[in-house]
């Protein structure tokens, strides 16, 4: 019987409860956003007792549907002040689903100081003191938990950044090798977890692919078909497994929309040095891996294992991270990028936000552009909780205010990722309008703008971008509910069999009679719920805008500005 695990951190009690009908067919982002909208007052303090942290596996997680082990973490964001769903790979989602736990809802706030660990096993739930883990980085916490509770456990944890309630702290969980690098990174949910006094959640479940399925034969056939659809697509079947997501570095650079020197230029002459091709070369030469799966059952395997000169490994280095610490800061040394990435993973900070914030500090002249060692030294301040460290952990918008910087790439307080909105305008629309704050995954228009997947819409022209972003935002919300990795979208956008096969898997698993149209309606509904929350939290149209400099400064080499009108932006959610 599907259940919720409700954890009251005021009373330090946890109990299972039945899932009411309303939530039975929801999962992942659909479930976290609905629960947050239903149970969290929109005007509450994100770090106060009324906010909740909701952790939910996707609808298909824990089955043998390929690449379906994505985890959604939701709550009210301390960074944006709006609703947040942050999505992570790693092995936790499959374990929760195999325990038939639809969501873990963490609420309340302890009156006293101190940290706790929640242990979830097939036998029940235990709340243990975690004072011995407090102050430790996520890698060490994960290693200690795997030693104590077995090397197969999943560990959700926060680093010192989350304990210190920094607004851009993330929530980590581990891959099969125990790397605490799979982050529900964006929007500061690590601080929400920290505010609840929860240092870690250990999930122990011996099964990976045995979540309840109503019609196993039908499901198996659909899952097999879906795996073939993924493997037959050139991006999902060949591109991602060869170089990982960082294969994007060169094409975004050549397309002239790689944000360089805090969004000053669209090309970086040394982009190749931090690209996926280079990464694969170095990783392989040092005995690492150019491809790797973030959870068992992923067929696209976009992850990698990068051995660093100090003997540690950074796994993976994603494109967005390589960008934010590379071209964004005019740094061209992959070892420096790896080190900055590792520090973020360990201290528990969202990499994109940290990179955007370092860009703002460089813009302010606090540290010089291109100075990798200075960037490392600055990021190391975070764990120490010094004033500079806290400024870095507070995100780009806050850092901009502290240092009087007006060129701050952020929307709704969240840093803009690795595609400049002036020459990849579809993504600009998504950054401006998604309820999440600037988020590339929320409506990844790079597909049609640059990669020629799902059609082609000229990235430098404003025509067609609103519609493109709208359709992608709806589809993405639905995919985020399924627990499928968003990268399945490359195949689903190009193959008309893709979406019906996802629907077939859902119907076989849940005994439902969903149609393709219902899936679009689900996506729309998720967005409506999220928008409503933000409205109630005080957001207005003015929050659906890009920073001013994108419409006043031209981006070379195409010399573009962001020129999509306010009226057009307000049309994105016209459904």
């Amino acid at each position: 019987m599907a259940k919720f695990l409700r954890v009251d951190m005021s009373a330090k009690q946890a109990k299972f409860e039945e899932v009411s009908d309303k939530y039975l067919t929801l999962g992942g982002r659909a479930l976290t956003s609905q629960l947050v909208a239903d149970e969290v007052p929109a005007v509450c303090d994100p770090l106060g007792p009324f906010n909740k942290l909701v952790i939910a596996p996707g609808l298909l997680s824990g089955t043998n549907a390929p690449s379906s082990g994505r985890l959604s973490v939701g709550g009210k964001s301390p960074l944006t002040g709006g609703i947040k769903e942050a999505n992570a790979g790693g092995i936790t989602s499959q374990k929760l689903a195999n325990l038939d736990i639809k969501a873990v809802i963490i609420e309340g706030k302890p009156a006293d100081k101190g940290f706790f660990l929640l242990k979830i096993t097939p036998d029940g739930v235990e709340m243990l003191s975690a004072d011995d883990l407090a102050g430790k980085g996520t890698y060490e916490v994960t290693a200690i938990c795997r030693e104590r509770y077995g090397d197969k456990v999943a560990v959700i944890t926060i680093g010192p950044a989350g304990e210190m309630l920094m607004p851009s702290a993330g929530v980590s969980n581990n891959d099969s090798d125990g790397n605490s690098s799979r982050y529900a990174g964006r929007g500061g949910l690590g601080a929400v977890m920290g505010s609840k006094g929860l240092k870690a959640i250990v999930v122990d479940c011996p099964k990976t692919f045995d979540a309840p399925v109503k019609d196993p034969e039908r499901f198996k056939a659909a899952a097999k078909k879906f795996a073939k659809i993924l493997l037959d697509h050139p991006v999902c079947g060949q591109g991602l497994p060869s170089y990982g997501t960082n294969v994007l570095m060169n094409i975004i650079n050549e397309a002239g929309t790689l944000p360089t020197r805090n969004f000053k230029f669209g090309r970086f002459d040394k982009a190749g040095e931090v690209s996926g091709e280079k990464l694969a070369e170095v990783a392989t030469a040092r005995g690492g891996k150019a491809t790797h799966a973030c959870h068992p059952g992923c067929v696209m395997r976009c992850s990698n294992v990068y051995p660093m000169p100090d003997g540690k490994v950074c796994a993976p280095i994603e494109y967005e991270t390589a960008w934010c610490f590379g071209p964004n800061l005019e740094i061209s040394d992959l070892d420096v990028v790896a080190k900055l990435n590792y520090i973020c993973n360990d201290v528990g900070l969202d990499t994109i936000e940290a990179g955007c914030t370092l860009g703002v500090l460089m813009e302010a002249g606090v540290i010089p552009f291109g100075d990798g060692q200075a960037a490392i030294a600055a990021l190391e301040e975070v764990a120490k909780g010094t004033p500079l460290g806290r400024i870095i952990g507070s995100g780009a918008t806050n850092a901009g205010k502290v240092y009087g910087v007006t060129r701050v790439p952020a929307v709704k307080g969240q840093g803009i990722p690795a595609y400049d909105p002036r020459s990849c305008k579809g993504n600009g629309v998504t950054y401006a309008t998604t309820p999440m704050g600037a988020d590339h995954t929320a409506g990844y228009a790079v597909t049609a703008n640059i990669l020629k997947v799902g059609g082609f819409v000229d990235p430098t022209n404003k025509d067609g971008q609103v519609e493109l972003s709208r359709n992608l935002q709806v589809a993405t919300a639905a995919i985020d509910a399924t627990g499928l990795c968003l990268f399945v979208a490359f195949a689903v956008l190009d193959n008309p069999e893709g979406l019906p096969t996802i629907v077939e898997m859902l119907n076989a698993q849940y005994g439902t009679e969903l149609t393709v149209d219902d899936v679009a309606a689900l996506g729309q509904n998720i967005l409506k719920v999220e928008r409503r929350f933000n409205l109630d939290a005080g957001f207005t149209k003015a929050d659906d805008r890009l920073p001013e400099f994108f419409s006043t400064e031209e981006l070379p080499p195409h010399n573009t500005k962001f020129d999509i009108s306010d009226n057009d932006l307000d049309e994105v959610f016209n459904f």
Partner: protein
Amino acid sequence: MRIEVRVFSGLEKFLPNKSFGEPLPVELPEGGTIRDLLLKIGIPKDHVFTILVDGKHRSFDYTVRDGERISLFPPVGGG
């Protein structure tokens, strides 16, 4: 006319002694297209998915002009 070609993400295997992103100067007669260019440098057309000319998406039939920067990619994606 002379153009500058860069190949990425595995296409470099067709160009001996070139690594990804390394500029390759190519002489092409006036009126030459991307198709002609691929024939000349020996990259099979069906391996090329995205063609960027000075950062703009172009087709195989695009007529190349002197001094252009041409970047060739197989299917790639990420995010």
